[in-house]
Symmetry: C2
Subunit: 464 residues, 2 copies
């Protein structure tokens, strides 16, 4: 008796007729004429395996009473299946029932289509559905591909601080982190909160980005990246925003904006190739049930060279498009999703890198171009979603950085450490940020970003 | 001209005499008789590369003025080095100076031994030192090995929520997360804080562990793990504690405590083998400068079968040891580090898995053994550090879980979702937790855990 995963049993690597044991949860049961067909899933891959039990089994009466969600251990001979759409099945020699379902009629996960809205209410059980099993495996595949890509290309992973005193964007809305007794706050002499008595002896927040921190490592180890959670306390409860999400942020020494864009393109294509190669089973389900072109659009993405367009040219194109947009198009204004999608979907029909945005709509740390009006920033736009990556070359010239900080009203004292990199062997460098859940939404064709994380609205989670 | 990393140039894969370009920061400079020897590091590996410049170069006067920390781009022919301890060097045909050091005398990172205490004060620059370069690359190697091990063994990565409403241990001290205006807190009818007006509509905290959450995925996908930050607001500012640290938490369906221990052993050995294979350069430095037996103790670890000892037997052994301990040894009390280290270092001389601890000193979710007095918990103890992994089989029987929750004074209503897994196809399952920074401390022989994270005492970080 060899215990194997269902995915392994179905993969055709075990000699036919070999005896195996699989363990998992019942998806469906069908019983008739002294036979029971029990579909068992262990989540190792998309497909369950069919176990055929006969009334020769001593516990056949119990087996007939199995319902979706019961846990079992099945042992038997692996044989080619006669059934459509399955490679192998198990001729059951034993089917041990490990755990029953307390009240089958109220068990929330039934073998029928269930809406994502309903499943968000029982988020702790939704991993047992086809959809969320697939999303979880695809998410895992993408995360592993992130680390593998950077490993193969000589980048080191850096875990930047989650609890922080600084605000990387100079503007983000942040969550406060504190152990002060809120019912009895310590007050300073002027009546304000005395944060010197808080856990860290000062006011602290959840990070909005690891970028400024990771620059320290970039300017010593040359190629680095973060992959960790970040937080935005923005009260925009839309289907596109999360308060807590994971970000991938590579940072590359001696790189300019063109190199930054080249890496972004190479990186995204690597990730999508990994999903197509490694999760064909789950992607087939996504294409069948969630988004028809889920596979073909990734294939197109992987094979298409990205277009490059300057922001200034993008504005002209939009203005001449003859299209009516909800938001105004004018040099100096940021591009909205409708503009981005027109550019990538209708005008170019491929992913587009828009570069060199007006300096006043971008962050203080982005490198000022020679025109004095734009900065070396880029957004990567993809058909079907719009912006998927944002990045920039960083300002490596101390005098210009100081001028930019003054312009943004930032206290240079607070950024002394960040200025240091420009005082000590400054080099050009660039990087970008990829919202990981946004990537999952895109690959899985989800319409609500809360379905791209393990725990929306789940007990134990505050995200909703 | 091919741009390569210093590690690649030194690896012997480029044909001798080939022309290469490397980019990085000056470590040391020595000039005499119309020659300058410039050691350049880009952090791609431990060793810098020596660039030999002659006074035939137009900017030779500037090259002579280079100091540690300056950034350069060096181009030249790669040739076998005559010098001791270096494989190749570059005969410089060009040495472009990219960035100077503003005031070389006050530049904090000098080519001389510097204490970790001093470097914690300039944490944003310490990645440029030999020690922190090595720690960063080893940390990256360990993190990648964590993901690779689980990938090769069929586990899926789950990112459990950071902001949470529940406390996985039932006891941990937690950081509060809030967007309420502390200077003007909303009050409820009874005068208490009105958390319904906070960001998530209720009181929220930073997670202390992803374990309870990840169980939902284990009981659907069978083999899963978390690898993410966790938080403890414990006011123990020792060299062994962090308020913010990363944890690895696998969770395995259909596993008992013996299988849990087997995976823990296999996993740790895999990680250490990865470091020995992939970071020989950095480990050689650690062994030379930080911890003499750094390499040999990992080799011993990898080759030694772990011992298994029951807690009850461990207490007897300690009592009969004739050794005087600072803390009392008695059945029912937890083991202290001095006890753990005696067991693993002096009594066994190898890693030890201690199993089946008294139920009242362990968490409510651990499986009650048939003796009614102990739970199926384990601690993995390693020579040189003590406890490195803690784990348990989880209580899968609803009636016993309910009794345990009552005993610990936990509200079953709050854990309804966790109870659900025992109502719907419950199966035995087990898992463990590994503090990632503790692992880095062990491998790198560090004496302060704040040197195992990128940003202790750094500007922008609240950890100190």
């Amino acid at each position: 008796m060899t215990v194997v995963s269902v995915a392994h049993a179905l993969a055709g690597k075990i000699p036919e007729g070999g005896e195996v044991t699989v363990r998992g949860w019942v998806r469906t049961v069908r019983a008739s004429n002294g036979l029971a067909f029990v579909n068992v899933s262990d989540g190792s891959g998309f497909a369950p395996i069919q176990v055929v039990a006969t009334d020769a089994l001593a516990n056949f009466d119990d087996i007939k009473r199995l319902t979706p969600g019961c846990s079992v251990i099945a042992t038997g001979r692996l044989v080619k299946s006669q059934g459509k759409g399955q490679s192998f099945e198990i001729q059951g020699q034993g089917l041990e029932i490990v755990g029953w379902v307390e009240d089958p009629l109220t068990y929330p996960i039934q073998p029928k289509p269930m809406s994502p809205e309903f499943l968000r209410e029982v988020a702790h059980l939704r991993p047992r559905t086809n959809l969320f099993g697939a999303v979880t495996r695809i998410r895992d595949c993408l995360a592993k591909a992130v680390h593998r890509y950077f490993h193969e290309n000589g980048y080191y992973w850096i875990s930047t601080p989650i609890i922080t005193t600084s605000d990387a964007e100079g503007a983000g809305q942040m969550f406060r982190v504190s152990t002060l007794d809120m019912a009895n706050l310590p007050r300073g002499e002027n009546g304000g909160i005395d944060f010197s008595r808080d856990f860290f002896g000062k006011e602290t927040f959840l990070t909005v980005s690891g970028q400024l921190n990771v620059e320290a490592y970039c300017l010593a180890l040359s190629k680095v990246y973060t992959f960790g959670p970040t937080f935005r306390a923005e009260n925009s409860h839309t289907t596109r925003h999360l308060a807590e999400f994971w970000m991938v942020e590579p940072e590359i020494a001696f790189a300019d904006l063109a190199e930054d864009a080249r890496v972004a393109e190479d990186f995204l294509k690597y990730l999508f190739r990994a999903v197509l190669d490694e999760r064909a089973d789950d992607m087939a389900f996504i294409a069948e049930r969630v988004q028809k072109d889920a596979i073909t659009r990734l294939e197109t993405f992987v094979n298409a060279p990205f277009e490059r367009i300057e922001y200034t040219d993008a504005v002209s194109l939009l203005q001449k498009s003859g299209r009516k947009f909800d938001y105004p198009v004018e040099w100096g204004l940021d591009l909205q999703t409708e503009h981005e999608r027109w550019l990538t979907e209708e005008h170019v029909g491929r992913p587009v890198v828009v570069t060199n945005y007006p300096e006043h709509i971008k962050a203080f740390y982005m490198r000022l171009n020679d025109d004095g009006k734009t900065v070396a920033a880029m957004d990567v736009l993809a058909p079907g979603i719009g912006e998927i990556i944002g990045g920039s070359q960083r300002e490596e010239r101390l005098d210009i950085l100081d001028a930019r900080m003054a312009q943004f009203g930032l206290d240079p004292e607070h950024y002394q450490w960040y200025r240091d990199f420009r005082r000590y062997g400054s080099v050009p460098h660039a990087g970008f940020g990829l919202g990981f859940e946004r990537l999952v939404v895109y690959v899985c064709g989800l319409s609500n970003i809360r379905d791209a994380i393990p725990y929306p609205r789940a007990p134990g989670s505050a995200e909703f």
